[in-house]
Each structure stands twice: as structure tokens, then as C-alpha cells.
Amino acid sequence: MKLESQTQNIARAVKRVCDEYHSRREKLLQILEELNELYGYLSEYVMKEVAKNLDMQVSEIYGVATFYSFLNTKPKGKNIIRLCQTVSCELAGKQRIANALENELGIRFGETTPDGMFSLEYTNCIGMCNQGPAMLINDDVYYNLDPEKAVDIVEKYH
């Protein structure tokens, strides 16, 4: 019973988001982004509901979802840390930040903490190259990092 109402809720939420965009095919990316934000990832059920609303093949939605690195088809932590791995940040010492984050969170890049609070990922250049090393946590940008500073920032998201 509980499970059923949960799926109904999701179906309603998906419909609301799709309606917001008049269920237009070309708005798929925006729709997926909103749902990704809402649930942290695009579950099988969510993708199927989107397909229904937009009258599309669910495989196509999956194809789109897997193309973009900011859309997830697997569950992720509540907060996603994306450390820039591109050249200017590399020159500025990204590796030390990477080590500090791994040590502090007890996970490797590509993993999620057991409490589901953090996922640690690399990303490519985020346009902060003059102030590297830089990272994004969710939508917030942090730069001029040093290991201690990075760890303190992460702490704030606990």
C-alpha cells in the first residue's frame, strides 16, 4: 500500500514536470534535469513515466540520460562533489585536493559514502582555471582550494 502510493507520487511529480514543459519532446533535457534534481537520479520508473508522458520510447530517454554527465541513471549521494581534473587545475595542484577528499570521506572517486551523503567525482574544466584547483558541490562553485579549505567546505554540507 505504502509502496503503491509512493509510485503514484512519483508518477504525479513526473507528470507535473512534464506538464510544465507542455510535454514537448524538445524539452526532454530540461525535464530530465529537473527530475534528476528532485530524486538525485533518474530511476527506471521515472524514465518510464517520462516516456509515457512524452509518448517516446523509453530507450531513447535512456540514451539521452546516459549521454550527459550531469544526469544519473544510478542513485547518487545527496551531495555530489565534482573536482576539476583538467589541466590548469592539475597544474594548480588538484591531486592534493583529491587525496584530501578521499581521505576525509573514506571513499575513492566514483564512489558514494555509505551514509549516502556524498558522491565524489571528477569533472572536466568548470571555467575556474585562473583560480584552480576548483570544484563544484551540487551547483555551488569553490576555487583557490587547498586541502584544508576543501575539507572544511565539504564539512559544511554534512
Partner: protein, 398 residues
């Protein structure tokens, strides 16, 4: 000598003045002014902006679109971020003028997901412009209407390529289209579409106010105007600089107080790596295509490491549809790893060079065509350093 710092974009601009001037002209007059200014696109390829608008203007269609490419993903580039954050109204004014010139009422700005935090800034700018009748219906009391939608990307560098961007705008995988047809003929939803870089749009109101002749006075004959450079790496004063086109690499290095410089990557990962012998070359489309980024490496840097970083970038960011790019970037990276272990034979290095040349002429879009640039330029400029590596005999972790 400090570089020539004549400023256009970073000088004050009265909001709406450019648009007001534009509305005093006919559509073709504006296109002629832009053509005369010889403004070339600042997104990388340097395509003449006036010609692009003319193509879109001449295309017959019930609807046309103006798209601002704010997908700035080229490693080492952040000039568009500054413009978006601090000069958004200039961008939108440029888009509105483009809209008026080609006969479009709808603008879209494609903002990369990594810049999502800038969205509120853009929303506010658009709101204010609407209130000031510089966007929306009856712009400045005329019959011209134009409005702008913000569209977020979702994390894919290739979506900066204009046809991939359009695919992405249509909610699809960001895979480049076959060209022709070009976007000016058939772009977003099949309608003629002008795609221009953020920076390109920003020059437009200035040109309308000050005139094409004024703009031409900046820069070189083939590359008029100024250019924003995002400068990072081993320099004392990194940041965004507005410099005249034609400024040399050495001038830039002096300006940002770089010392002990070994190499400069011009144009980001898809640009080329310049060694000291070429530091006196000018940054202009006819010489060193400027792109938006300059990354400086000092003598302590291992250039093979730099190359590996670039190749990793392309392997991750290739859309994967065409063979030379999907498989080729992977093989080049594999080769770099071999070199890192000191295990790449001269023979195989030549094979990889030939592969890189093939990728340049056979890939479907600019990404695959330019991905070999750092490979070729770094290998060629620093062959000695690269081949001098000790051989690591352990098995290679590819």
C-alpha cells in the same frame, strides 16, 4: 612592452543604445555594418559573423532562432563566464540585434550545466531588459519583438559544437549533425538558426554605436577588434584580459608576468601547443587561432603529462558516434601512456602520427578534427623530452 590593452568589451556601454541604433537601420543595413566590421566569431572557428547572419536572413522560413552558445567547455577558458556574470545585458542586446537583423523573434541561450549558478544572474538581466522594453513585445516602442529563453546543458563539452548544441536543445543526445545543411539553413527544430558565441554577441552593440570603421581599427586586417583571453597556468597574474587581436604570445606572457616559460597552449585542449621559438607569433585567426584560452607551462612541467591530461579529456568528451574520434582518441591516449612508460617505439609513434593526421581530416565534427592538435604539437615540439624517458619494464596499466 606590456601588451596592447585597448578595451572594447570592458568599456562602459549604455544599455539599449546599440539596439536603438539598430532599429534605425534596415535589416540588410545592419548585416552590412557587421560585414564591414569584419567581426569574426569568437567561439573558435572565426567564421565571419556578418556572413552567417546574411545566410540566416536569406533563408526563407516562418520562424528563425538566435542561439547564444554559452557552453564554454574548452579547457582553460572562462572568459564567457565573466561576460555572463558581469555583462549579461550586452550579450542579450547583441542577440536582440541579431534577431532584428535576420528576422527572428526567439532567442535561446544554452548555458552549460557547470554554470548553473549563473542562471539567476541571467534571469534577472532578462527581467530588467524586459522592463526596460529592450526585450519582449514592442521593443523600444517599435513593432520588433524578441525574447530569450534560458536552456541548461547537462554536462557535455561536445554540445559546444553548434550542431551538437542544437541536437541537445532539441532534447537529444549531443551528437553533431552532418553538415550541410548548416544551422543557418536548417537548425533548431529545422528552422534557420544563428549560433554565435557569447563574446561575439557582446561586440555587436558596440559596433552599432561606434561604427564598423571604428571596430576595424582594432586588431589586424583579417582579425579585427579585440579579444578576450582566459589566461591560466604558470603565471603570476592569471585572469581574463581584453587584448587587441594580433598581440603576440610573448606580449601576453609579459603582461601576465610569466617567467621561465617552456610552452603555451593556445586555444585550449583543441588548440595547439606553442614552444618558445614561436612566441613572437601573433594571436590572430591568420596565425595562431586565438580560441579563448591561453595556458602557460613553465620549465618544471612534464609536457607528456600535459598531453595525457588533454587526451583523457577528449576520450571522455567525444560523443562517440564516429569511428576516427571515438576509437582514435582512445588509441592516442593509449600511445601516450606507452610513451610515459618509455615503451613506445619510434615506428609506433609514426603510426600514431599518421592516425592523428587521419583524425583531423576524417572526423565528423570539430572535436575529433581538433583532438589531435595537442598530440601533434606537443609530440613535435618536445619529442626529445618525450623520447628520453626511461623504460619502465612492468606491465603497462592501460
Amino acid at each position: 612592452m606590456a601588451g596592447k590593452r585597448k578595451q572594447i568589451l570592458f568599456s562602459a556601454l549604455e544599455p539599449g543604445l546599440g539596439l536603438k541604433k539598430a532599429l534605425e537601420h534596415t535589416q540588410t543595413e545592419i548585416i552590412d555594418i557587421i560585414k564591414l566590421s569584419r567581426l569574426r566569431g569568437r567561439g573558435g572557428a572565426g567564421f565571419p559573423t556578418g556572413l552567417k547572419w546574411d545566410l540566416a536572413y536569406s533563408a526563407k522560413a516562418p520562424k528563425k532562432f538566435i542561439v547564444c552558445n554559452a557552453d564554454e567547455g574548452e579547457p582553460g577558458t572562462f572568459k564567457d563566464r565573466i561576460l555572463l556574470n558581469e555583462h549579461a545585458k550586452k550579450i542579450f542586446e547583441g542577440m536582440a540585434i541579431a534577431g532584428y537583423a535576420v528576422g527572428s523573434q526567439e532567442g535561446i541561450i544554452y548555458l552549460r550545466a557547470e554554470y548553473r549558478y549563473l542562471r539567476p544572474v541571467l534571469v534577472q538581466a532578462i527581467d530588467e531588459l524586459r522592463k526596460a522594453h529592450l526585450l519582449g513585445k514592442k521593443i523600444l516602442g517599435s513593432d520588433f519583438q524578441f525574447d530569450i529563453d534560458i536552456h541548461l546543458g547537462a554536462g557535455a563539452y561536445v554540445c559546444g559544437e553548434e550542431t551538437a548544441l542544437i541536437e541537445s536543445l532539441e532534447g537529444k543526445r549531443g551528437e553533431a549533425r552532418n553538415k550541410p545543411p548548416y544551422p543557418t539553413e536548417s537548425g533548431y527544430m529545422g528552422y534557420p538558426t544563428v549560433v554565435n558565441n557569447v563574446e561575439t554577441f557582446c561586440y555587436v552593440p558596440y559596433i552599432l554605436i561606434e561604427g564598423a570603421a571604428w571596430f576595424q581599427k582594432f586588431g589586424t586586417f583579417e582579425s579585427t577588434g579585440s579579444k578576450l583571453f582566459s589566461i591560466s597556468g604558470d603565471v603570476k597574474k592569471p585572469g581574463v584580459y581584453e587584448l587587441e587581436m594580433g598581440t603576440t604570445v610573448r606580449q601576453v606572457l609579459n603582461l601576465v608576468e610569466a617567467s621561465d616559460t617552456k610552452a603555451v597552449q593556445v586555444g585550449g585542449a583543441s588548440g595547439i601547443c606553442v614552444a618558445e621559438k614561436d612566441f613572437d607569433k601573433p594571436l590572430a585567426f591568420e596565425s595562431l587561432p586565438p580560441g579563448g584560452s591561453i595556458i602557460v607551462f613553465n620549465r618544471s612541467r612534464d609536457m607528456l603529462n600535459v598531453l595525457k591530461n588533454f587526451m583523457e579529456f577528449f576520450v571522455e568528451e567525444s560523443c562517440g558516434q564516429c569511428t576516427p574520434c571515438r576509437e582514435g582518441t582512445f588509441r592516442l591516449l593509449e600511445g601516450v601512456k606507452l610513451m610515459e612508460q618509455g615503451q613506445c617505439s619510434i615506428h609506433y609513434l609514426r603510426v600514431l602520427r599518421e592516425l592523428a593526421e587521419t583524425m583531423k581530416i576524417s572526423s565528423k565534427c570539430g572535436l575529433g578534427q581538433m583532438a589531435p592538435n595537442p598530440f601533434l604539437s606537443i609530440i613535435d615540439n618536445f619529442k626529445g623530452e618525450i623520447l628520453a624517458r626511461d623504460r619502465v619494464t612492468d606491465s603497462i596499466p592501460l
